[in-house]
């Protein structure tokens, strides 16, 4: 980080880094166009960007009726992020997928699960843990937890493909590009990059959409099954939902603190 700051200043020809990036965009533009002696480049957030200190998702399993509903979420996500569809089962890449309650919650599975849960599938994805073991394991900080909003992200540029994070993740939420994914993307979304072979990828809570004021792609097509919001804001929809309903999280005994909740 230190290095890029320096580089940035060099390029921008700026003399001071005070407030760099911290100012809201409007103020920044005003300063640049207004009465500044030495104009300098700066970065800012998009004015519409959604803000939170801890993003979380609530899955209301009571609203799940059919596999098609989850199918829709998977499709929206994978299309948005250029996730390939590989023929080889072993190499498949999954950001969000459908699985059974027994698989999502192996230690909570009993012989007498409610009839509803027994018959539906659940959407599973990266849990964006509060205390993510994958981030602890990564030797290059290619996967990291964003301090500002708690999203666990991947920097594909930096990943060396050691797959330590895959061993560390207790949810099987990470996939590896065992080969060049491009030929297996049916319809390329040209606004989002693809990946190259040899790097790990996973759900990113749609950071690229949050940054321009949109909700995650899966949430938009979820028929109200998925709710997304800030857990630190007691007024947010997710906080309200969790206040009124009993929800469980996957493998809480491991101390990872998942940000995806399931109302059962």
């Amino acid at each position: 980080m230190e290095r890029s700051r320096r580089e940035f200043l060099k390029i921008a020809g700026a003399s001071a880094a005070v407030g760099l990036g911290a100012r809201p965009m409007i103020e920044a533009v005003a300063a640049a166009t207004g009465h500044q002696a030495t104009p300098q480049a700066r970065v800012a957030r998009h004015p519409d960007a959604l803000k939170a200190t801890r993003w979380a998702m609530v899955v209301d399993t009571r609203k799940i009726e059919s596999a098609e509903q989850i199918e829709k979420m998977v499709e929206a996500c994978h299309k948005e992020h250029n996730v390939p569809m590989l023929e080889n089962e072993r190499h498949r890449i999954k950001w969000i997928w459908e699985t059974h309650f027994h698989n999502a919650f192996p230690s909570q599975a009993t012989d007498h699960v409610s009839e509803h849960l027994e018959h539906i599938g659940l959407p599973v994805m990266c849990n964006h843990c509060e205390n993510p073991p994958c981030v602890r394991a990564c030797p290059t900080k290619a996967t990291f937890k964003r301090a500002s909003d708690g999203i666990v992200m991947m920097d594909f540029h930096r990943c060396i493909g050691c797959r330590f994070c895959m061993a560390a993740c207790p949810y099987g939420s990470r996939s590896f590009n065992f080969r060049d994914p491009r030929p297996f993307i049916a319809e390329i979304n040209k606004a989002y990059p693809t990946r190259m072979k040899g790097v790990v990828e996973k759900c990113n809570f749609c950071v690229e959409r949050l940054a321009v004021g949109k909700l995650p792609a899966c949430v938009e097509v979820s028929d109200g099954i998925l709710t997304f919001g800030d857990l630190d804001d007691p007024e947010s929809e997710v906080s309200q939902l969790l206040k009124e309903n009993y929800a469980i999280r996957r493998k809480t005994n491991l101390g990872t603190g998942p940000s995806v909740y399931y109302i059962v």
Partner: protein, 129 residues
């Protein structure tokens, strides 16, 4: 030492091999590349940074954009003139310069560099081109 002959021959061969690229290419200087600007780039008239700067510093700028965008969650770059751009190789740079073969590659080939940006960033984001 009676190995003098061998040593000298060896040295001559070594020197010849090492300098081979120089005399092989002697007098065959490649012409400086000419890049093609798309209509959109021409219409825009100016780039994120002044022409000379972007030409020599674009890789550094992209490096900073990458880290700021991916790691800090800032998505907008405001240049010294106060103009705002989305920090995105795919959606900003390659939107104007949608002809990477006639634009990016020309100089890269000349400078004998082989960046792999396009392995992931779609080379031509414009529909129907």
């Amino acid at each position: 030492m009676n190995d003098k002959g061998k040593i000298v021959t060896g040295l001559v061969i070594f020197a010849a091999v090492v300098t081979f690229p120089f005399w092989y290419n002697l007098g065959k200087a490649a012409p400086p590349p000419e890049v093609v600007l798309t209509e959109k780039a021409k219409a825009a008239g100016e780039c994120v940074l002044p022409k000379e700067e972007i030409r020599t510093e674009h890789m550094k700028l992209l490096d900073v954009w990458r880290d700021t965008q991916v790691r800090d969650g800032q998505t907008v770059y405001i240049n010294a003139k106060g103009k705002a751009y989305t920090m995105s190789l795919s959606n900003t740079c390659l939107d104007c310069h949608s002809n990477y073969k006639d634009f990016c590659d020309r100089c890269h080939a000349y400078a004998s560099t082989d960046p792999y940006c396009w392995d992931c960033h779609i080379d031509n984001p414009k529909e129907g081109e």
